[in-house]
Amino acid sequence: MTATRTEAPPTGPTRLTDADLDLLLLIRHFELALLDMFGRGELHGTTHTCLGQEYVPVALRPLLDDGDHVFSNHRGHGHYLARFADPHGLLAEVMGRQGAVCHGVGGSQHILRDRYLSTGVQGESAPVAAGVALHLKRAEPGRLALVYVGDGTWGEGAVYEALNMAALWELPLVLVVENNGIAQSTPTGVQLAGSIGGRARAFGVDHLLVTSTDTNTVRAELAPVLRRVRDRAAPQVVELLTHRVGPHSKGDDSRRPEEIGQARAHDWYARYAAAFPEQFSEHDERQRRYVADVVREVSGRPASRWEGIDRG
C-alpha cells in the first residue's frame, strides 16, 4: 500500500570535475552558513536547506539551457545556485540586503529571475509550468519547463490536473521529484499510497527512477531522458531517491537518531570526502572560505530597497 524505498548501500562515488565539485560544495556551505546564522539569531523568518540533495540540480545543470524554464519550491537554494552561481544575490535575498534578487520581497522561497521561479505553495507550480510548456512547445520547440517537487507534494490534486493536461497536450514538461522519504515530519510511506512511478504512468507519462547520488551517474541517466522530452515534446517524471540530511526548516528535525543516521549514511559529502580526499579537502576548504566571504560581504550591506514600484 505504501511506496517502497530502495535502501541498498550506496555505491562508491566517481570522480567529479572540479567545477561540479565546487558547485556541490558551494551549495553545501551556503546551506550550512544559513543554519549557522539562524542558530545565532542573525536571520529572520524561515528557510529550508537542501543538505544531502545538492547533487540533483548540479547533475541537471549542463542538461538545461537558459531558454528552459525552471520552477523551484521551498527547498530551492541549490536549484538557484546551480542555475546562477550567485550566492551573493541569494543570500542578500534571504537577509533582505541590497543586491537581493527580488529586493528582499520574496525571501528564501519566492524567487523570480529570468526563466527561474520559485514559490511557497506546494503543487501550485505544476499547472503553471504546464502552461509555460504549452507556450514553449509552440513558440520555442526543443525547450522545456522543469518543476522540482518533493514526494509530499504528490498529495496535492494540482499535480494530477497538471499531469493530465501535460499528457493530453503532449507538453515538454519535466517533473523532477526529489523523493527524500519525508515531508516535513511525515514519512513518505504514510502520506503517499502506491508509487510515484505508477502515478506518472497512469497518466501515460514516462517515469525514470534514479537511485544514485553520484552526480556523474545521475547526469548520465538524466541526459537521454531530457533529450527525449525536447525531441518528442512529451512530459516526463524523473524521481530521484534522495536524502534530507538536515532539518525540514531550522531545528525542526523530529526523526529518530537512526533515521537521521540513515540519511547521513547516504550523504554524498562524507562519502566523496573519503573517496577523493585530496581533491575534496582542497575544494571544500575553498568553498567554505568563499561562502564565509559572501556572508561577511553581504552582511555588511545596507537593507534592501523596494520603492517606486507597483506594490500590488
Partner: protein, 337 residues
C-alpha cells in the same frame, strides 16, 4: 435592435483573438460545435484551433495553465463554466496569479482574465447560482470587472488584458440574452453617458444628469433591473433616480462616482450577492469616508438574503434580490429625511 450581450461578448473574443496572436482561450467544452455552456465561445475554435482549448474538468489546473501562459508573456482568458467553481481556483488566483505581479520585488505583467458566468434566477440551484464577487475584493494585484449592457466587452477585455493585472470578469447569466444598449438611449425617458477615465462608469438619467433624488449604484448584472426600477420609481412614485454602473468593481473608482453621489446626498447600492462582506459594503465605506456631512442618509445596501439559493423558482425569489427590494430601498431612503 442592438445585439445580445452574449453576442457582444462572443464578438469581443473573436476580435481579441484576431488581434493578439498570443491570446489563448481555455475552459471546459469551449470548442465547436458546443461552443461553451453559454455559447460565448462559439465559432472561435474553428478559426483558432490551436489557441482555443477545451480542457478537462480542472478549474484550478486551468487557471494555473493560464497563469503559466501569462508568465511566459502570452495572454489567456479562462472560462469557468459556473462562477461557483472558481472556488476551486482560489489558490491559483490569490497565491499565484495575483501575487506574481508584485511578490518578486518588481512588477511582473500577468495578462490573464478569468470569465465567470454568475448569478441566479435560472433555477440551477445552490451550487450553480452564486455571486462570488465579494470573496475576491481586496486581493492585491487583482482586478474585478462585471459585464454590463452599457459596456462594450471588447473594450473591457482589452483593457483588462493590457493592464497586466490578472482579472476576473463576472457575467450575469440572465444578462447574456438581454440586449446591449446603444447610442446613449435607454428608452423614451432615460438616456445614458459615461463618467470617469475609460468611460468606466455608465450613468443613466432622466431629463438632467445633474439632478436626481437618489443615486442607485449597481454592478453590470443588475443594470437592467436597476433601470427597470428607476423607470417605475419615476412613473409610479415621481422619484428621479440616477443609475451608475461601474464596469470595474475593484479597485473602486470612487472619484468617478462622488460628484453624482454628493449632489444627490442619497445613495443605494444593490447587488445580487447574499448578505455580508458585500461589494456594496466596501463602496459604502469609501463613500461614508469621503462624503461624511454631505450625505443625507447612510448608504443603503440591497442584496440577497443570508441564505443558500434554492432551486425552485418560487423559493429562489424569496432569497435573491428582487426589483421590489430595490424599489422599496430607494423610496425609503428618499422619504427618510
Amino acid at each position: 435592435m442592438a445585439e445580445r450581450v452574449v453576442e457582444n461578448l462572443n464578438q469581443a473574443l473573436h476580435a481579441l483573438m484576431a488581434d493578439d496572436p498570443g491570446l489563448h482561450l481555455l475552459g471546459e467544452d469551449l470548442v465547436d460545435p458546443y461552443g461553451g455552456a453559454f455559447k460565448a465561445t462559439r465559432g472561435l475554435s474553428g478559426r483558432w484551433p490551436d489557441r482555443v482549448l477545451s480542457t478537462p474538468l480542472s478549474e484550478g489546473g486551468i487557471v494555473g495553465v493560464a497563469g503559466g501562459l501569462a508568465l511566459a508573456g502570452q495572454s489567456a482568458i479562462v472560462e469557468i463554466m459556473f462562477s461557483d467553481f472558481v472556488a476551486l481556483a482560489f489558490d491559483q488566483i490569490l497565491n499565484f496569479a495575483s501575487k506574481s505581479t508584485a511578490m518578486y520585488g518588481r512588477p511582473v505583467p500577468m495578462r490573464l482574465v478569468v470569465r465567470c458566468p454568475t448569478g441566479g434566477n435560472r433555477g440551477y440551484g445552490p451550487t450553480h447560482s452564486q455571486s462570488p464577487q465579494k470573496h475576491f475584493v481586496g486581493i492585491p494585484g487583482l482586478t474585478l470587472h462585471e459585464v454590463s449592457p452599457f459596456h462594450d466587452n471588447h473594450a473591457v477585455l482589452a483593457r483588462m488584458l493590457a493592464s497586466g493585472r490578472p482579472g476576473l470578469l463576472f457575467e450575469d447569466k440572465v444578462l447574456y440574452t438581454n440586449r446591449m444598449y446603444a447610442d446613449g438611449v435607454v428608452d423614451e425617458l432615460f438616456r445614458y453617458d459615461y463618467l470617469g477615465p475609460d468611460a468606466g462608469t455608465a450613468r443613466i438619467w432622466v431629463d438632467d444628469p445633474e439632478q436626481c433624488d437618489c443615486v442607485l449604484v449597481v454592478p453590470g448584472g443588475l443594470a437592467g433591473r436597476a433601470v427597470r426600477v428607476a423607470r417605475e420609481l419615476l412613473l409610479r412614485d415621481d422619484i428621479v433616480c440616477q443609475v451608475l454602473v461601474p464596469s470595474r468593481l475593484w479597485p473602486l473608482d470612487v472619484d468617478a462616482l462622488l460628484p453624482s453621489l454628493a449632489r444627490a446626498g442619497r445613495v443605494v447600492v444593490a447587488e445580487e450577492s447574499t448578505a455580508g462582506g458585500t461589494w456594496g459594503a466596501e463602496l459604502a465605506q469609501a463613500v461614508h469616508g469621503r462624503l461624511w456631512g454631505t450625505l443625507r442618509a447612510p448608504v443603503r445596501l440591497v442584496h440577497s438574503a443570508d441564505s443558500v439559493i434554492p432551486t425552485a423558482a418560487h423559493l429562489e425569489r424569496t432569497v435573491l434580490v428582487q426589483d421590489t427590494d430595490i424599489h422599496r430601498a430607494v423610496k425609503e431612503v428618499v422619504s427618510g429625511d
